[in-house]
């Protein structure tokens, strides 16, 4: 086991444990908070995969943006003074069971598929300029579409959230 493998397991734990808490914790606020750890762990995984720019973007967008928004929504959509965010105990058995079955199949497929791995040991680092080049050449149309999507979301959110 190399140091990188150790880091993988650490980050996997950082990702999965909070994800578990997020799904099963009765308090919705705690669930949201635990997402913080999960997002951070995923960012670490990205770093291990040589995607430093993606990792920083993950932190910036998920932690700095999405998570804050989610917490905002949690606080705005409940009676915030005194009330406990108890999510009613609900039968989680059926979804859990089905999820486990699905997971079993997924793992089975992953382990049995003969992956055509062509790992190149080139230095992974300067990805930023190459990503930028790709975005403005091969992926120009998706890039433009993404910007239109963001604009539409922006306008839509403003119209939805505006008080009448």
């Amino acid at each position: 086991m190399t140091a990188q493998d150790v880091f993988f397991y650490i980050f996997a734990l950082i990702t999965l444990v909070p994800a578990f808490v997020c799904v099963f914790h009765p308090n919705i606020l705690y669930a949201g908070l635990s997402l913080f750890g999960s997002f951070f762990g995923v960012a670490g995984i990205y770093v291990l995969l040589g995607a430093d720019f993606i990792a920083a973007t993950q932190v910036l967008i998920y932690v700095g943006g999405i998570l804050v928004l989610i917490l905002f929504a949690v606080m705005l959509s409940k009676n915030i003074y005194g009330a406990k965010f108890q999510d009613e105990k609900k039968k989680k058995i059926l979804p859990g069971l089905l999820g486990l079955i699905l997971l079993g199949f997924l793992v089975k497929f992953i382990l049995t598929t003969p992956w055509n791995m062509t790992l190149t040991d080139e230095a992974p680092l300067p990805t930023v300029s190459r990503l930028g080049d790709l975005l403005l050449t091969d992926y120009l149309l998706p890039f433009e579409l993404a910007s239109i999507l963001l604009l539409a979301a922006l306008i839509g959110a403003i119209i939805l959230a505006r008080s009448k």
Binding site: L94, P95, L98, I101, L102, F105
Partner: protein, 682 residues
């Protein structure tokens, strides 16, 4: 010089392209700024327009200096694809050659001076900034017109120029005459433009999609342009159609009627658009397309031009509106240019365009200055303001002498060239003797009516003392353009020799820069043996004209009323402008209306009542029967039956839909798991 300048400041772009785009774009920038935020700018934003046009002017001058040093072979062109279709490509491009550069120089110089002049002339106008926006727009369109390297681009700018002209003629749209005049100008020129468009289409289809000037010419030169229509070769027909556009824009007979009315616009506009640049676009077009015209087409051009020259000159004789006299004079001079081009005097025709632009702009601006001072356009209310407006008087005198073709002045040089060539043309083809005859007669008439104008305006006793007392010299922004333009009306400016004659010149070959820079196309070589006769004849004619004007309007030894009385018939014809407007009114509009009434009757009686109404009973009986069938068979059995089935089944199926999204998803997930299990089991 220009290239190195641009290379230094905009290193990443092609210097010539960026220079041309800047030259074209600056007025457009001025237009955009003025039309959107002009009102809020300091001084109504006039400095924006003047500044932008000054940049264009400076670039043109630099370009001209470059051209002088590189000689007449200079040509630069670039183009890019605009519309890319499988079978043909439409390109847009820029063509810069000596003709273009000379036109650019004329356009930007006159534009700049007129912009400057307008600051003084229009300063009280409530729509000051919009006026400058329109002017900028015009300059943009005009520059685009001369930069275009193919017929289609030229046509686009040709129409834009027409639009600018319309907007500016009817600038004071509160006056019904101005609004009418704008519409008239727009519609009448459109008639010519339709002809031009047909010409372009003929060329387009005959040459399989060639629109570039050079490629058209080489196509024609190879003799591939065949085809006949009703016994006329298509080449001639296309040439005449193209020329029709020029007839409309340059106000040649019979489409000249819009130009005098266009004088309803502000006077600087008349100077810029209706004297110096836009109306010269027709001449430019003929010059540009010169190798394209067959001898037959050229003869048509020459006759049209010469007839227009004499025709318009006679109409100018009796008018009392100072601007209309100048307008008719413009038509007449444009006719002279057309005549010159028609007889093959390529250089002379274009030369006259350049000189005419300077002195006619000067005349209009002087007239504007007089109008500004006296607040009237009627010459009968003027008189004796020579002493009060010395600068205006001097400059206008210089320009008048230039227009009359007096030695030492620029008009003499260019007009004499044209007349000489037309004379030698007639000597070769004696059957065409009318062309030079009209030309010389119009020279004499020109001298007469111009001096009539000078004498009535500046000499004699003031006829309206109240207006006379208010008269004053105009501010410097108005007089400075006058002075510059009148300096440009001196022969020495164009030839290097003060007299404007002979080979004597101060700075060698290049001092006759217009002649030096223009290379006549090979098909128009003419011996110029007739120049001396032409010189003597034209000077005699001009002298006679001036003498008569002097006797009638200064000495008043001959009474104008008596002459009018004596030739009452002719006088009346002239004051009514040959009843051309009335003729059009009667022939075109009246008959058209009658035809329309007839057609409306036909429509009403035959088509509506017989054809349309006749269908009704048939339709009604058919639809009653089909309605019955529809009702019984289709509605009650098929449609209602389907509905009942659907409703019954829907009642049962509805129970599945709980509205709980998680339940749906759960079912979906369960289905996925089920399928997976099934797949592994099988």
């Amino acid at each position: 010089m220009l290239e190195s300048l641009f290379l230094k400041f905009l290193p990443s772009l092609d210097p010539m392209t960026s220079a041309m785009v800047m030259l074209l774009g600056m007025p457009l920038l001025g237009f955009v700024i003025q039309i959107f935020i002009g009102k809020r700018l300091f001084r109504g934003g006039d400095w924006v327009s003047v500044g932008t046009i000054f940049v264009s002017f400076a670039l043109s001058v630099l370009l001209f200096i470059d051209l002088l040093s590189s000689g007449p072979q200079f040509q630069w062109t670039t183009s890019w694809t605009w519309i890319d279709l499988p079978h043909f490509q439409l390109t847009m491009g820029i063509l810069v050659d000596p003709v273009t550069i000379l036109m650019l120089l004329v356009i930007t110089t006159v534009s700049f001076l007129v912009f400057l002049y307008s600051i003084g002339y229009m300063h009280e106008d409530p729509r000051y900034s919009r006026y400058f926006a329109y002017l900028s727009f015009f300059s943009f369109s005009m520059i685009g017109l001369v930069l275009a390297d193919n017929l289609f681009a030229l046509y686009i700018f040709w129409e834009l120029v027409g639009l600018a002209s319309y907007l500016l003629i009817s600038f004071w749209f509160e006056k019904p005459e101005a609004a009418e005049a704008g519409k008239k100008a727009f519609i009448v020129t459109r008639i010519g433009d339709v002809g031009m468009f047909i010409g372009i289409l003929i060329i387009f289809f005959e040459t399989n999609g060639l629109l570039h000037f050079d490629s058209i010419f080489s196509y024609v030169a190879k003799g591939q342009f065949g085809g006949e229509f009703l016994g006329i070769s298509l080449l001639t027909l296309a040439g005449i159609c193209i020329f029709l556009g020029a007839v409309g824009k340059s106000a040649q007979f019979p489409l000249h009627i819009w130009l005098p009315d266009a004088m309803e616009g502000p006077t600087p506009v008349s100077a810029l658009i209706h004297a110096a640049t836009m109306v010269a676009a027709g001449v430019y077009l003929v010059t540009r397309m010169f190798p394209f015209f067959t001898p037959e087409a050229r003869t048509v051009i020459a006759y049209t031009g010469s007839f227009t020259a004499i025709f318009a000159a006679t109409m100018a004789l009796t008018h009392n509106d100072i601007k209309k006299v100048l307008a008719y004079s413009t038509i007449s001079q444009l006719g002279i240019m057309m005549m010159g081009l028609g007889v093959g005097a390529y250089v002379a025709g274009f030369f006259h365009l350049v000189t005419h632009a300077a002195f006619k702009a000067c005349l209009f601006l002087c007239a504007g200055s007089v109008i500004h001072a006296l607040h009237t356009q009627d010459m009968r209310e003027m008189g004796g303001i020579r002493k009060k407006m010395p600068i205006t008087f001097t400059t206008m005198g210089v320009a008048t002498l230039a227009l009359s073709g007096i030695p030492f002045f620029s008009g003499f040089v260019s007009k004499d060239l044209i007349l000489g060539e037309s004379l030698s043309f007639a000597m070769e083809n004696p059957s065409h003797f009318l062309i030079p005859l009209f030309g010389f007669l119009s020279t004499g008439l020109t001298a007469f009516y111009m001096f009539r104008l000078i004498f009535m305006t500046f000499y004699g006793e003031p006829r309206d003392s109240k207006k006379f007392d208010h008269a004053h010299e105009s501010p410097w922004v108005m007089t400075l353009p006058l002075i510059i333009l009148s300096l440009c009306s001196l022969a020495i400016f164009f030839t290097g020799s003060p007299l404007g004659l002979g080979e004597l010149s101060l700075w060698g070959e290049k001092s006759q820069w217009v002649k030096y820079l223009l290379e006549p196309p090979s098909s128009s070589e003419h011996p110029t043996s007739a120049h001396l006769y032409a010189l003597i004849l034209s000077l005699t004619m001009a002298g006679c004209g001036i003498l008569f004007a002097y006797l009638i309007y200064y000495k008043q030894t001959l009474s104008s009323e008596k002459i009018a009385e004596k030739f009452k018939c002719i006088y009346k014809t002239l004051t009514h402008l040959y009843w051309i407007d009335e003729l059009y009114e009667w022939a075109v509009i009246h008959n058209l209306l009658r035809l329309n009434t007839l057609l409306a009757h036909f429509d009403n009686r035959v088509i509506d009542q017989v054809l349309v109404d006749g269908w009704a009973p048939i339709t009604i009986s058919t639809s009653t029967n089909s309605g019955d069938f529809d009702n019984r068979a289709i509605d009650q059995m098929l449609v209602d039956g389907t509905g009942k089935v659907v409703r019954a089944s829907g009642k049962e199926v509805r129970k599945i839909q709980t509205g709980k999204i998680q339940q749906y998803l759960l079912v979906g997930l369960g289905a996925v798991c089920g399928i997976l299990i099934l797949l592994t089991l099988v």
